[in-house]
């Protein structure tokens, strides 16, 4: 299982998801009514490193974070 965390304004508790790659996480979240509208605008980090491929491999215990649009300062 990987842990999926939702950062900033996404008001949602972390999820545990069975996933071998990020593609599996995408499939799970696209069926989640609470979060699916955020997916188009979120960046994704695996274990606190930003990633750009759905083929990114995951192993049990990995942390996947969703980062919605930012505005510091």
């Amino acid at each position: 299982m990987v842990r999926v965390e939702f950062l900033g304004p996404i008001q949602k508790e972390a999820l545990e998801v069975e996933a071998a790659t990020l593609r599996d996480v995408a499939a799970a979240l696209q069926n989640d009514e609470e979060v699916k509208d955020w997916l188009e605008s979120c960046a994704v980090a695996v274990n606190d490193t930003l990633v750009k491929s759905l083929d990114t491999e995951l192993k049990s215990g990995d942390k996947v974070s969703l980062l919605p649009p930012v505005c510091g300062g």
Binding site: P9, L22, C42, A43, L67, V70, C71, G73
Partner: protein, 146 residues
């Protein structure tokens, strides 16, 4: 150096401390940028969430970029609520000469706005409202929507 404060950033203390810390470092230029909360749209202030692990790695990469240019970068930011007319952000570049520092503070703040994992909320009518229309998707966003 990356500093996070709960509430407003203590601007005067920081500017003086950073100045003193580098007084003997032989930098000819010290260029700070200070972000202050303006009275607009009937807000009583702003509020911020920060995700520190990625903010730290982003800032470390910028420190390396500064070092290669012979400069150093410092930054302080607020977490939580920041009232009107106080400050939520201070960044500064020290470099041997001004041109490097002036360009770097601009490039740094631009990338900060586009990439630093910080989320802004308006404080209005007792509510904390995500500033969605002023926020920018981080490069590479949308992966999970494909």
């Amino acid at each position: 150096m990356l500093e996070i404060f709960d509430g407003p950033v203590p601007v005067e203390e920081i500017l003086v401390r950073w100045y003193r810390d580098e007084a003997g470092s032989n930098y000819g230029a010290y260029i700070p940028f200070i972000g202050t909360i303006r009275d607009e749209d009937e807000i009583s202030g702003l509020s911020f969430d920060i995700y520190e692990p990625i903010l730290e790695s982003w800032f470390t990469a910028w420190q390396e970029r500064a070092r290669e240019a012979g400069a150093i970068l410092k930054m302080a930011h607020s977490r939580g609520d920041v009232p009107l007319h106080t400050s939520s952000y201070v960044a500064a570049v020290f470099s041997p000469k001004r041109k490097v520092a002036l360009k770097m503070i601009n490039d740094f703040v631009e990338d900060f706005k586009a990439s630093a994992p910080i989320w802004k909320y308006d404080l209005k009518d007792g509510k904390r409202l995500y500033a969605a229309d002023r926020s920018t998707p981080i490069s590479g966003s949308g992966l999970l929507g494909e």
